[in-house]
Amino acid sequence: MTTAIIVNEVYKKFGKSELPFWRRIFGHTNGNGSNGNGHNGHNGNGAKAAEKSKVVVAVDKVSFTVGTGEIFGVLGPNGGGKSTLIRLISTLLLPDQGSISVFGYDVVRQSMAVQQIINRVSVEASFFKKLSPMENLLYGARLYGQDGAETRKKVVDILTRLGLEKRAIYNPMEEMSRGMQQKVAIARALLTKPHLLLLDEPTTGLDPRSKREVQAVVREMREKSGTTILLTTHDMVEADQLCDRIAIMNSGKVIALDTPAELKKLIPPKDGQETTLEDVFIELTGKKLVNEEEETV
């Protein structure tokens, strides 16, 4: 299997120290922070320095590779750094340290080449709300150099396959449910036939039936087109069923990475019950899953 993504020692922090620059220069803090998840990054030189710092480390020296055609899952609590990682891969953020390459292209130096072969579906289905799915998808497809007439046909095909009524394709997005909007977001990504599809909690907030439909599309993309998929999710069952390998992130770090079966072996069964991914997650992160709609970091 060839390599689709190489993430090498990637570090990303947000915010800036509120200390005056001379105090930062003369070493009153170590300037690199400890970790994220809402915690102040500065440590080591007293509580005062930490209090005056608003640095949040979102991704902390993360490294992994993803093979071509693999479905790679990233699990983590809210604020664990999953969405930041996806934004770094999708050229929407620049890493402070480390490097990321997608099919051999560096995301910083060759961002245009990377953008041509990727697409992303985020937890917020971001659209021009007054425009219809057809108008939104035409806009999205044209940005990727696609022909209008061909796109119109494809839009109808894809959206009806995803369960949208034909009538809904021409009505404003604001009249659609969140689940429907999310399906349109998935269609937007499918239209451009990406080599790498980044799915940032694509099924959060969907009803069980819509969830299954989306999961079926993900599988089909991999099987029919060989698309590599990087998926973040809060749904442990979904991760278990869909992903070939899973990385568990906490406070910006990858704390475990393996196949779902191997991850489950990390925790011995309790009370005769088979270990689930959720058991592994809680054991490793010390946190329960929070099913919030959005991640803040």
């Binding site: 934004r87 620049l94 990727i118 985020s122 806009y139 150099g145």
Partner: protein, 277 residues
């Protein structure tokens, strides 16, 4: 597919999207048109009222000339400011809708992005200003027998490029300041309105502001348009007004693109793309 075809299609994406947005927000456009017509009429009526001002003494002012002088000011300003707002909307509307990450993640060169938005902005501003002109022409008996209409249009088009450059620079504000950036762009337009002689000759301004007027492309566009429409200045004599605005456009557009690329890099460094205003 060649790179050129790819970029032309991508550029057309912005034109088509804006046309679709106007269709969907047609009621807002109608309100804005009514406001613009009322604004142009209100300012132009000052010309008719001048004769009754000054303590009841009959004025020697040529009211027809004054009305057209003010009307040209409002129309030129409507044209240039509409271009400016559509260009700054490059980011503002994406912030509003929450689509900015999708647009900036697409494999589209920023110059392609700007070209599509510019083509739309100039075309729509011409159409919109034309509608205001038609409506005001129904109210005032405008004598345009001496007017050089071709020259006036040429002057407007030449001046539009420098406003595109200013608009691109201003569009970084919504990029850098998600919450209030769009409102901050009004400062550009307010300063240009003050110094460019929209409703009065520039030489009535204090010396400091007169010096600033030299740097405003609107000053040349207004002077050139007024001379072609009021005095019938031949098109070839417009060059004295056209070359300064073309020069400003040649400096402002590349500078604007450079400023925008720096701002985009900063936004990607600091994570400002994610926050929707």
């Amino acid at each position: 597919m060649t790179t050129l075809t790819y970029q032309i299609r991508a550029s057309y994406a912005f034109v088509e999207r804006n046309i679709n947005l106007i269709k969907r927000y047609w009621s807002w456009e109608l309100v804005w048109l009514v406001y613009s017509i009322a604004d142009s009429l209100a300012v132009s009526f000052i010309g008719l009222g001048v004769g009754k001002l000054g303590g009841g003494n009959p004025s020697t002012a040529d009211t027809n000339y004054l009305v057209i002088y003010l009307l040209i000011g409002t129309l030129v300003w409507r044209f240039l400011s509409t271009i400016f707002y559509w260009i700054t909307n490059l980011i503002g509307i994406e912030r509003w809708e929450g689509t900015i990450e999708y647009t900036l993640m697409a494999p589209v060169r920023r110059i392609t992005h700007m070209a599509g938005q510019t083509f739309f902005a100039i075309s729509y501003s011409l159409f919109f200003t034309g509608m205001v002109l038609l409506a005001t022409a129904l109210v005032f008996k405008i004598d345009l027998s001496k007017a050089n209409l071709l020259g006036g249009t040429l002057m407007l088009l030449a001046g539009s490029f420098s406003f595109v450059g200013i608009g691109v620079m201003a569009s970084v504000l919504p990029l850098l300041f998600p919450e209030r950036g769009e409102q901050m762009t009004h400062v550009f337009i307010a300063l240009l309105l003050l110094v460019s002689g929209i409703y009065y000759p520039v030489d009535v301004l204090p010396p400091v502001l007169q010096k600033l007027a030299v740097l405003s492309p609107a000053t040349y566009v207004l002077e050139g348009t007024r001379r072609t429409l009021l005095e019938g200045l031949p098109t070839w004599d417009l060059w004295q007004y056209i070359w300064p605005v073309l020069l400003m456009g040649a400096v402002l557009i590349p500078s604007g693109l450079w400023v925008f690329s720096m701002a985009e890099r900063y936004a990607k460094k600091t994570g400002k793309l994610h926050r929707n205003g």
